[in-house]
Symmetry: none
């Protein structure tokens, strides 16, 4: 019908660059609102205002509020994965996590930092949602396995580099420990923001020793 442009409401067509950037603007706004108020308390009106567009227009880009939530979750998971992939294991891992812990502690949303968890509030809310919404649970699990694979590959490379024998069961154990400690630390940062940094550093040093050298 209109050969030179494909509207966002035409599901068969690839979205135009403008449409894509609008979606991103909306998702950015949604992210801020969801972090600030939560998935259910944030209103479509909030998001529209934050995005600087009218409420009605949002429905050209998303079928409904739930679709916004799902799209945001999907985007968040993909961004998390990319962060993990870009951020190789290093000797500085303890110091890196320590720095990120400080940001979590301040409740700031982390942009430009390669953190697997950009906002603890969003991470927690997505997790809660996964226990209620099977669609969210599925998306989450699919991404989770990719991330686990990424971490596992890291460790395998690390072992090869240091000439250690490859032990698959051990790799999985250490991957799980790595992820558990990171995510647990995020929760700790919110629930008691005043832990002494040296305690965190010592804990991380011990745990990362197991991750990297066992």
């Amino acid at each position: 019908m209109a050969p030179h442009s494909s509207a966002p409401h035409d599901p068969d067509a690839a979205p135009s660059a403008r449409a894509e950037s609008q979606r991103e603007r909306i998702l950015d706004a949604a992210q801020r609102c969801f972090i600030a108020r939560g998935f259910h308390a944030a209103t479509v009106s909030d998001i529209a205002t934050e995005a600087g567009i009218s409420q009605g227009l949002m429905y050209r880009y998303f079928d409904n509020k739930r679709a916004m939530i799902l799209a945001l979750i999907e985007r968040q998971l993909q961004s998390d994965q990319q962060s993990m992939r870009r951020n190789p294991l290093s000797a500085d891992i303890v110091e890196n996590l320590l720095a990120i812990h400080q940001l979590w502690t301040r409740g700031e949303s982390i942009a430009g930092v390669d953190a697997a968890i950009a906002s603890v509030a969003l991470y927690a809310e997505i997790t809660a949602e996964a226990q209620r919404d099977p669609v969210v649970a599925d998306v989450l699990q699919r991404h989770d396995r990719l991330t686990t694979q990424t971490v596992c590959d890291w460790l395998r490379q690390h072992d090869l580099a240091r000439g250690a024998a490859i032990d698959e069961a051990g790799l999985q154990r250490r991957t799980l420990l790595m992820r558990t400690v990171v995510e647990g630390l995020a929760m700790r940062a919110v629930r008691d923001p005043d832990i002494a940094p040296q305690t965190v550093r010592a804990m991380l040093a011990g745990a990362m020793a197991q991750v990297l050298n066992d």
Copy 2:
């Protein structure tokens, strides 16, 4: 107005036993609803039905919905603490956590089990709320420190029992590790419910070794 009992709406009077048990019933119902649907999606009507009372009556026990949420959070934190206090460190700690991990994995609400986290969804939602609501954050932090103290005392007792030297910095590090691993594992259980149990056991064995024996 009610000559034979001090009504719960009289703030100056000590709540009667009956009033106290009503509050408990309501909070029990609220807990089930909040776990199933979340703080904001659960309606007052849901909770009233679940508690088997009328909507209007709830407002004799709680000023409003927010007060219910706060009371539930408070109660949850106290119950978590009691679990921790009742559940001393033992050689079975790995197997205990493994069993709880299975329950988390199934998304079941844990009753009668001495788990620090009765429902991961509720735990996550409370954490998210803490990053938005300073009142929640304060309550959370106050309880958190008590719990940290409880765990720390455990470990001190454990060290005394095995004749180890007492190292305060080490105790704090191991306490943090303990809590981080438990809370991280709860999140892992939701985000990827299909991790192999032997992997979890191996990870826990390694981490708990550091907690108990370092």
Copy 3:
């Protein structure tokens, strides 16, 4: 739970007298609004205002707007049937229809008159809805057959009274003619309200002669 009263929102309980009278008030208001503006143009807010209650309260008595429409249609059909049943065939049938035609012509809603069609606008709108909504179509057809039976029985009694032989095919033909003329006349009354009464009377006389005496 409450043994002495059954709330309208409890689907298992028989509605209380109060609830029933509220439903009637709402349906009365809905009828006025639907006649004045149509099923789809009339708003729930219109109806609430007309009924003198709040919007929210309507949803204690009807699940949604569609349920109101369906309930009104059902009530209308039942009332039509009762009119037919109360209003036996008589020598005055021509004059009766003539009088009703005058009311139709003025677009007035007919109350207290035993007219099969109380409001032509409502009758037309229900008919239109039947061609779109299978549920409405079903309800309509079910009632229609009862009404047809009622008219058919009238005519049979009439024939017996005048000593005529009973001819089933003929009864059905005359029943159909009777109903067709009545409903057709209703439409005529709206589409050209200025037909001369003597023309209507003459037409009815001829048609009713066939209905009553063939």
Copy 4:
């Protein structure tokens, strides 16, 4: 602005052939949508899609949705009249009506058939609208009288052809009967689609005998 053609948005200019054909396309689409969903439930977007043009463009041909409805009603009435004029009274009138009744019964829109009522749903909705909107009522009545005149002329010709004396009052009576039966039958077709065809034929035979031979 458009030097080579008189644009439809210029009210002083005669509409170009192109503009006229666009209007027809839009009205065709509108008719399909209105039949399927009703005046108020059909959206401008529906109609635009059905017509294969953009929403914005429709506003170059019609001021607003109401203007579309009015134009469609006007066109419908004209087309009905032409059908009546093209379709002279004949011995087959009973069989013709019987065939049309079948189409009404199936809820199909009748195209290419010389039926006075192309769609019962549309006919009913227009009738309902006439009782609300004086503009519609006026247009309807004006057309109605022309149609009545057309039918009346038919019958006069018929009488002349068979050598009967011309009786003006009788002509009006028979015209009214004719129209009443046709429109009443349309309603019957929707409200009880399962009437036996032989019953319809017998009823029509009797009524048309009065129309043609009295």
